[in-house]
């Protein structure tokens, strides 16, 4: 009869756990029993039951004991010994251990926080199923070979044209924003994030449609789908489907679907989507034939495996062929680029983004800082441990004499380093949980730290292993390499090579700290520079009310009453209505404008601000030539005012000369009546854009109220009351213009703060290391100092002597850091049109601060030694 074997895995398991005191009888009996079972119950069942029996036999008394385990392997006994020795040495040198652990903890905390943040920024729009194939078409317009506008939302025609002409394009979506005041049963809100979207929206973006049919919801005109949270806001617990929601008091949309809120980590933000066919119906224009009407997001889905860079050049050829002549005739050009949907958040910053995107450069900066900080922390450990090596050399000598192998010594030091790294890591994880909310407040993002994420586990494991090896291996090799005879004879001195390396690492730490400090100083100085510049426009004491969307035929009259009644108040100077206010780019961009009598081919693009008679005066914008709009002149609606930049773009050297000229603007003729001085309509990051002011007395986008009041709440109440009287049905939304203007710098401010915080941490870690080194040096030279003091050295001279070495190192670090930080920060400043120069004190100030901090750190130890009684040191021996 063929002999059958029990399952090998079960057997191995049994042999693994079972003590040798029991293995014979248990395994023997199980074998016999198995053979009997095979005969009675068949092989398959017998094997299964064998396995169960193995598990049943697993009782605590049958498990291998610790002794049994360690008898098998000397390593385990040694490990036990390593742990014990490490623990002893760590507790013996408490100060060093604390310095090491705190340095590593701060380093790992900073690293992991920054890493999480950077990962967050880099993984937007990952929720989309087909993310590799979804692209947004970004559009650049050129005039006379120069870029004039760069759009996130391009012209109406491009998406559909590509879909119709290229088999590579599977589907497309066109979207455009709708500023809306929505109303349902007394619930009235202004909604900025509502969009018209074409019918394939839910096909392209895998956004979960909770109710409604993804194929048809956006097909019919005057249908809308609403996000879950917006549905709650308007309808509460009621069923949203079938409800009619009122749009700007004039149109009604039927809700036909509800979708899950878009994740925060998406470049897109939309609370409500209307069918695009509605938009077509409203503007009575197919839109998808419009090559010159911008402001439409076009998304396309490419077939799997299409190279999008190739396809981009195909688009260029296609545009050239189809539209080249027409574009060339007006000296224009247009280029389309494909943006992979997952790249948009970090790389795209063009006109009409859904929301402010991230900054790739800043993110990369932080990523690099993260690595520098953790390296500084590791360097600390290396420095302190090798510095301590003299003290431990005796231990190493004795161990070697007793027969310790070099490998075992290396292991011992690695275990020590592992323990330190592990403790620091655990402390760091705790800190991260405590600090994450503050960090999120600082960065303005909702970053989640997911400890159990497989990548995070790998990263943390990596930090532990790298930390142990990097920070432990060098000291381990140095220490284990000592010659026992030399050590025990007392001949050993720290090698010159070791000293140089240690100095090199101190230089590295301070070099990094200084670069970060210079960076922080530069960022904040640039910010304060921008804030202190004269903007050329008065944005203080200005309250801006967002104009009404729900209006009727009497709107102009009501606006006049509104202005009149408010201006009559003593605390209100003037009310001006306009299409744009300082602090953001005017939405109105117009091309094809040229001076009559000049070559129409030289037409250009301008930003247009429409305002009433009071606009320029209210904002204190100065005239360089000509006059303001005047109410008495009936021809003024056909006039324009330029800013200097626009006048120059039109080719006027002398602004007076412009005053007699007329311009062609979308088929109408406008007389130039004035030129205003350039002012910073937008942040100082940008240079002056060419602006044209047009007289639009009843502009309804913004009402700016200039106030002089001691009681802001009362003034606001007055305005609100008047608002409600004239524009019922419109929510009263207002902001302060200076806050609005500051918003432009928010990202830079956050960057500066984060930068500053981590610069501070880097310095802290570096100083911890310096403190450790100084205290070590002080003990080493205790006797020397005492002898010097006996011979008449003063405290001052001793402190100077001990500090001198460190100061030299820091000076070297400063010398190295200057060119590097100059190069890096000059690159950062290049983004700003109006910027500070990298002056000498941007380096001197941080450099001096660093020297002072370092000296203060060192002086704790040097002064202690310097003031000690020499007798204490010299009497023993």
């Amino acid at each position: 009869m063929k002999k059958h074997n029990p399952p090998i895995w079960a057997d191995m398991f049994l042999e693994w756990y079972c003590s040798k005191n029991y293995i014979d009888e248990v395994q023997g009996d199980l074998y016999e029993w198995f053979q009997l079972r095979v005969e009675k119950q068949g092989l398959w069942l017998a094997r299964l039951l064998y396995f169960l029996d193995v598990i049943r036999f697993m009782r605590s008394y049958r498990l291998k004991s610790i002794d049994e385990l360690s008898q098998n392997s000397n390593n385990i006994a040694m490990l036990h010994n390593y742990l014990m020795t490490s623990w002893r040495s760590l507790t013996k040198n408490k100060l060093f251990s604390i310095i090491n652990v705190s340095g590593l903890t701060v380093g790992i905390t900073a690293f992991l926080l920054l890493w999480t943040y950077v990962q967050h920024e880099r993984t937007y729009d990952q929720h989309l199923d087909n993310k590799e194939n979804i692209f947004r078409i970004q559009q650049d317009r050129y005039n006379l070979g120069e870029i004039t506008t760069q759009w996130a939302a391009g012209c109406g025609a491009i998406g559909k044209t590509l879909k119709d002409n290229f088999p590579e394009v599977e589907s497309f979506v066109i979207m455009t924003n709708s500023n809306a005041i929505l109303e349902y049963n007394e619930h009235v809100f202004r909604e900025d994030a509502t969009y018209y979207a074409s019918e394939d929206f839910f096909k392209v973006f895998s956004i979960n449609l909770i109710q409604g049919d993804p194929e048809t919801v956006l097909k019919e005109p005057y249908k809308a789908v609403i996000s879950e949270s917006a549905a709650k806001k308007y309808f509460g617990e009621e069923e949203p489907i079938g409800k009619m929601i009122e749009h700007n008091g004039s149109k009604e949309f039927e809700i036909v679907g509800v979708y899950e809120d878009l994740p925060k980590k998406s470049h897109m933000q939309a609370d409500l989507l209307y069918s695009f066919s509605t938009f077509v119906d409203i503007v009575e224009n197919e839109v998808t034939d419009e090559w010159n009407w911008d402001g439409f997001y076009n998304y396309i889905v490419l077939k799997d495996g299409t190279d999008y860079k190739d396809f981009e050049s195909k688009i260029a050829d296609f545009i050239d062929k189809e539209r080249g002549e027409e574009l060339a005739s007006s000296n224009e050009d247009v280029k389309f680029h494909l943006q992979p949907v997952t790249d948009i958040h970090l790389t795209s910053n063009y006109m009409m983004e859904f929301k402010p995107n991230g900054n790739e450069q800043a993110t990369n900066f932080l990523f690099i800082i993260a690595f520098f900080i953790i390296i500084i922390a590791w360097v600390n450990y290396i420095n302190l441990t090798t510095a301590k090596s003299m003290e431990r050399s005796k231990e190493v000598g004795i161990r070697k004499v007793m027969g310790s192998m070099r490998g075992q010594l290396v292991k011992q030091f690695l275990v020590e380093s592992f323990i330190l790294n592990l403790v620091s890591l655990l402390a760091a994880l705790l800190f991260i949980y405590l600090l994450l909310p503050y960090f999120n407040a600082l960065t303005g993002r909702v970053v989640a730290f997911e400890l159990l994420d497989p990548n995070m586990i790998m990263l943390i494991g990596g930090i532990l292993v790298m930390g142990t090896l990097l920070s432990g291996l060098y000291p381990a090799l140095v220490l284990s390499g000592f010659k026992p005879v030399a050590i025990l004879k007392g001949k050993l001195k720290n090698s010159a090579g070791g000293k140089t390396l240690r100095k090199g690492m101190v230089v590295f730490q301070f070099f990094t700290s200084l670069v970060l400090m210079v960076g922080t100083t530069t960022v904040f100085y640039q910010l304060s520079y921008m804030n202190s510049q004269d903007l050329g426009v008065d944005i203080n004491q200005t309250l801006v009310v967002r104009g009404p969307n729900v209006t009727d035929s009497l709107y102009s009259d009501k606006l006049n009453v509104f202005k009149h009644n408010l201006s009559a108040q003593s605390e209100i100077n003037v009310v001006t209505s306009s299409t744009a206010v300082p602090g953001s780019q005017p939405d109105w961009n117009a091309g094809g404008i040229y001076v009559i009598g000049e070559d129409p081919d030289k037409s250009q693009q301008y930003r247009i601000i429409g305002g009433d008679y009071d606009y320029l005066e209210a904002f204190d914008i100065e005239l360089a030539a000509g006059r303001n709009f005047e109410e008495e002149r009936t021809t003024d609606p056909n006039t324009v005012i330029l800013n200097e930049s626009a006048a120059e773009l039109m080719g006027f050297k002398d602004f007076e000369e412009a005053l007699s000229k007329e311009i062609q603007f979308w088929g109408d003729t406008f007389q130039i009546v004035g030129v205003v001085k350039n002012y910073h309509n937008e942040s100082l990051k940008k240079s002056f854009e060419p602006l044209i002011f047009r007289l639009i007395p009843n502009a309804s986008n913004y009402y700016s109220v200039k106030v002089t009041t001691n009681n802001m709440p009362r003034t606001i109440a007055t305005i609100e009351e008047e608002w409600k009287a004239q524009f019922p049905g419109n929510p009263f939304d207002f902001f302060f213009l200076d806050d609005h203007y500051q918003e432009q710098y928010k990202a830079d401010q956050q960057f500066g703060q984060v930068f500053g915080l981590f610069a501070g941490l880097a310095i802290f870690i570096a100083c911890l290391g310096l403190f450790g080194l100084a205290s070590y040096m002080a003990t080493q030279r205790y006797k020397e100092i005492s002898v010097r003091k006996v011979l008449g050295a003063t405290v001052g001279s001793v402190v100077t002597l001990l500090s001198r070495d460190f100061v030299i190192l820091i000076l070297i670090a400063i010398v190295l850091a200057i060119p590097v930080s100059w190069y890096v920060m000059d690159g950062w400043l290049a983004e700003f049109a109006y910027r500070i120069d990298m002056s000498w004190w941007l380096f001197a100030l941080p450099g001096l601060t660093l020297i002072i901090i370092a000296l203060a750190t060192v002086s704790f130890q040097t002064i202690k030694v310097g003031t000690s009684n020499p007798v204490d040191a010299l009497r023993s021996e």
Partner: protein, 107 residues
């Protein structure tokens, strides 16, 4: 008294050990019990009971008798001790006494 208490299954195993007379080990005990009482037993339970009996001093054991079908592993052979005998005896006496005291029934 807890120390001398003998559970039902323990008594059964102890009896089997006595019956097998020096040839008692996990498998032989299990086989005999299965054959005589027609109940199925698990081998690990038998082992546990045997160790318990050994702790109480009712059986003693020695290693021996490796065979090929055991993968060359030795058996732990159990035999009953004098105390074990006494306990079994006591238990039997108790039963007999109680049987005798039972009134006659007219079956």
């Amino acid at each position: 008294m807890k120390g001398t208490y003998l559970g039902e299954f323990e008594e059964l195993v102890l009896l089997t050990v006595a019956v097998l007379n020096g040839e008692a080990y996990g498998i032989s005990i299990a086989e005999l019990i299965e054959k005589e009482s027609n109940r199925s037993v698990t081998i690990s339970t038998i082992h546990n009971v045997l160790y318990r009996l050994e702790d109480k001093g009712y059986v003693k054991s020695e290693l021996g008798g490796a065979t090929a079908e055991r993968g060359g592993r030795k058996k732990r052979l159990f035999s009953i001790t004098a105390t074990g005998h006494a306990v079994l005896n006591e238990s039997k006496q108790l039963r007999n006494k109680l049987w005798d005291a039972m009134p006659e029934f007219g079956f």
